[in-house]
């Protein structure tokens, strides 16, 4: 791949530019410091936690690596090739942070399992009629690890005016297998996917925390092809944030949407219930990454192996969920 050396160059350039030795006039010779050390220095020193709002903004993200220096001069916006805008994400994070911290009071364990660099496929259980888990996971990882997360989701979003554009700018990408491959394999980014899909979010409250089938295992195949690990995440709290009490098949068919729920939130708050979640306590557990012992970039992978791995991951998440629920004393206080 011809892009790779170029990536390295720019990264080094970024490091030099924001190196903290302000008084120093001559730039350090390249052999004076290890590139790795330099990245550490950048991480710690260039982010002043006391600066207003800065704690929410991750380190200069490597996405501009896709740009030649010449392009950097020309570009007026910061929308990357995936439609994501770090500036817009920063605003979204600022708005969402109080919800994350004081409404859902999200708490993570096992965050060290999320790779600090390189591509990975994050997968999680999916819940709530209008999913509350995706924003929590994306916000959490972006603020805690300072790595962007691309949320793979239904094509449907892209078709909607305004919503589709905002969705793409805040990191949403249509869940096309080739998009996932490029994100993780070529661009070495984190992608988030919910293998249950709409079956997870459309399920009845009485079925809470029971994982549905993980599609047809496509997510495993994509991770294998991209040569990246799968990082499973078990999420507790989303189910209670917007529980579905009834479903109308007829209305869903009429409106041409996957499901039409009547949620407890709607009963409690009326139409505003579409946007107001119950303040359930969110707990997220990152399970050890699953690496696959197969070569990347294959045309196809044995169906049996794919299904077996998918099922294994599903079981692991299911077990983690039961384990977390065993120790949960209260839906609201965790």
């Amino acid at each position: 791949m011809p892009e790779l050396p170029r990536d390295g160059d720019i990264q080094f350039h970024t490091v030099e530019r924001s190196a903290p030795e302000a008084g120093r006039t001559t730039s350090p010779r390249p052999d004076e410091r290890e590139p790795l050390e330099a990245i550490d220095t950048l991480d710690v020193d260039s982010l002043d936690p006391t600066a207003p709002g800065l704690s929410l903004v991750p380190a200069p993200r490597p996405e501009r690596l896709d740009l030649e220096p010449e392009d950097q001069r020309i570009r007026r916006g910061d929308v990357d090739a995936w439609g994501r805008s770090e500036n817009l994400r920063a605003i979204v994070r600022r708005v969402y942070d109080p919800i994350y911290k004081y409404w859902f009071r999200a708490e993570w364990e096992g965050l060290e399992h999320v790779p600090r660099e390189g591509g990975a496929l994050l997968i999680a259980n999916h819940a709530a009629a209008i999913p509350s888990d995706a924003p929590v996971i994306m916000h959490g990882i972006e603020t805690e690890l300072r790595r962007p997360v691309y949320g793979l989701a239904e094509y449907l979003f892209r078709a909607l005016p305004v919503v589709g554009t905002l969705w793409a700018r805040s990191g949403g990408v249509p869940a096309h297998p080739d998009n996932a491959y490029r994100l993780m394999h070529d661009d070495k980014q984190l992608a988030l996917v919910f293998p249950e899909g709409a079956k997870g979010t459309g399920k009845h409250y009485r079925d809470r925390y029971k994982l549905h089938r993980f599609g047809r295992g496509g997510f495993v195949e994509i991770a294998m092809r991209s040569g990246v690990p799968i990082v499973p995440i078990a999420v507790v709290g989303a189910e209670e944030s917007m529980p579905t009490l009834f479903k109308s098949r007829r209305l869903a068919a009429l409106l041409n949407i996957p499901y039409f729920p009547v949620t407890a939130n709607m009963l409690a708050f009326g139409p505003a219930g579409l946007g107001i979640y119950f303040p359930a306590k969110f707990r997220l557990r990152v399970l050890p990454p699953v690496h696959f012992d197969v070569p990347p970039d294959q045309e196809r992978y044995p169906r049996a192996l794919v299904m077996e791995e998918a099922e294994k991951i599903r079981e692991n998440i299911q077990e983690a969920l039961y384990d977390m629920l065993r120790t949960r004393r209260s839906v609201w206080f965790g």
């Binding site: 896709d66 010449e70 490029r182």
Partner: protein, 345 residues
């Protein structure tokens, strides 16, 4: 190398012939079209043909060309009526390939200039089409259908003639100082149209990279289908910002109807395939042709920037490319003036 260029009267045909004339290895260039070349050409021979090339077989036999550059696929449906477009793209290509593949044909290489338009533009599309990926929705416009039909002919031709090098280049939207495309026309307007609520990712190819890519395929052997697009992808809003234009929104529903008055008032013509581009955009993977040895001069951003510079210059001095004209005048002087001593210098 003996080369036949179809569509010599089009922008691309003339451009390409002009560049081929500079190359030493090119013995002779024969150009075919219904109307005369747009640029002054020195040693290219122009043959006036009907639009579907019925005399082509005779020309191929008589001139013994070994390379055919098929630049005459119309991708801008505003240029021409639907029927004529079908005639040129489908029937023209069919006749061309029949002549090139006839028994005893001297042709060894065929290069077709096509468009990424054939991928369509739909919300189910991948963000970067690979050459192997089919479109996600059947074509609805005549120009897209005609390109797909032509593509099928080219594919069959490649299968039937395994001894020939068949290259098909699919170009993304082109911008440049000299070429007029729907997008360049839109970007020249004082206020640029967009569709409310959509801000699609787009890619652009610079006109110099178009001729560059066609020349690369002519001089090297790169059989296969390749996407051509400048690196990167950019939202339409940012394209407008770089060019320095404000935007006006067309409604997201009944967009075709809303675009109709613009066409009738001759402000700008936005055919359905362009409107769906303004909604969902399109991206293609350009890496295979880079791996085949081609170096782009312009990225997508660079293309837009170069276009914006040309536009600013035009606004200031009233001419898109003043240096170019000057050069041509000088060339004409050196070529034809009796004051110039020719022969040995």
């Amino acid at each position: 190398m003996r080369i036949l260029v179809t569509g010599l009267g089009t922008f691309w045909g003339s451009r390409l012939a002009q560049q081929l004339e500079q190359i030493d290895g090119v013995e002779s260039i024969v150009g075919l079209d219904t109307h005369e070349p747009r640029l002054p050409l020195e040693r290219t021979e122009f043959v006036r043909a009907d639009s579907n090339y019925s005399i082509l077989e005779r020309i191929v036999r008589a001139t013994q060309v070994d390379t055919i550059l098929h630049t005459h696929l119309i991708v801008d449906s505003t240029e021409i009526s639907g029927r004529a477009l079908h005639e040129i793209n489908v029937i023209g290509t069919m006749n061309l390939l029949a002549a090139a593949g006839a028994a005893g044909s001297p042709v060894r290489k065929l290069i077709v200039k096509s468009s990424t338009l054939m991928y369509g533009s739909n919300y189910k599309d991948p963000y970067f089409f690979r050459e192997t990926m089919p479109r996600t929705r059947p074509p609805r416009t005549r120009v897209e259908r005609s390109l797909l039909d032509a593509a099928a002919f080219v594919r069959d031709f490649a299968i039937d003639n395994p001894h020939m090098t068949v290259t098909k280049l699919r170009f993304s939207n082109v911008l440049g100082d000299d070429i007029n495309t729907t997008f360049s026309n839109a970007l020249r307007l004082p206020i640029v149209p967009e569709i409310f609520g959509y801000d699609p990712r787009l890619q652009f190819t610079h006109e110099d990279d178009v001729t560059g890519a066609l020349l690369h395929a002519t001089l090297q052997d790169v059989p296969g289908i390749y996407n051509i697009a400048g690196d990167g992808a950019m939202p339409w809003s940012e394209v407008c910002t770089i060019v320095g234009k404000r935007r006006v929104a067309l409604p997201p529903v009944l967009t075709n109807w809303a675009a109709e008055p613009l066409r009738m008032l001759r402000v700008v013509e936005l055919p359905p395939e362009v409107l769906s581009m303004l909604r969902y955009g399109r991206g293609v993977d350009n890496s295979p042709f880079k791996r085949a040895g081609f170096r782009y001069q312009y990225s997508t951003a660079g293309t837009v920037d170069a276009f914006a510079r040309g536009l600013r210059l035009e606004r200031a001095v009233g001419d898109k490319n003043p240096a170019y004209k000057y050069e041509r005048d000088v060339e004409t002087f050196f070529r034809h003036s009796p004051a110039v001593l020719r022969g040995d210098a």
